[in-house]
Symmetry: C2
Amino acid sequence: MSIVEMSKVLSNKARVDVLAWLKNPEKNFPPQVNVPNFDDGVCVCHIQNKLGLSQSTTSHYLSMMEKAGLLIGTRIGKWTYYKRNEEQIEKFIQSLSSEL
Amino acid sequence: MSIVEMSKVLSNKARVDVLAWLKNPEKNFPPQVNVPNFDDGVCVCHIQNKLGLSQSTTSHYLSMMEKAGLLIGTRIGKWTYYKRNEEQIEKFIQSLSSEL
DNA sequence: ATTACATATCGAGAATTATCAATATATTAT
DNA sequence: ATAATATATTGATAATTCTCGATATGTAAT
């Protein structure tokens, strides 16, 4: 993922907010109902509630962020959980450090 | 400058190219005519030539980058020279490291 | 003062991104 | 099988960004 393409993903407050919230799910989201913890991330519906955006926009943003390598999505039953992809986020920061 | 605002500036190939070219002006631009070296940066007209964009777009992008803190512009006579603002670029990378 | 040139700003249309409602798909419960 | 629920995808409009030509401003030469 190039700097330009990654920057496009990061040039939106909602998406940067999600990334920040997912640093500390316990603090930023209510307890999950259908799984015991946040190990696989946060349920889409919780993220949508907090964003205050429509379901379709929320889903779109999350999959865009996954495609960019910022998030990891996991489907469990009817639900999809998203968490940060720390490895890739770190790689991006490294590439910025050297390329920018 | 927030991550979102800075990312907007970086989400364009032309602007990221300029930033990269200015890392090594001697290599990426012809010698300057009206000043002896690249100490104050590169003349707008050289950047415009290399970008292949219109004069107005080039000027717009450069001032946008200066406003974001990525570049430093210096007017000398009729010409304006732009160079990288290394201090601010480094600060941005640091803030990404902690906030992202 | 006038002209010439480099850059900046303005105004407008084209291209892209944001965002929604509607619909489709996947999964579970009945 | 059917219904219910969560998420994904599609199609459309609104908002933003891109990009240009035209014009304005600043500086130097005549």
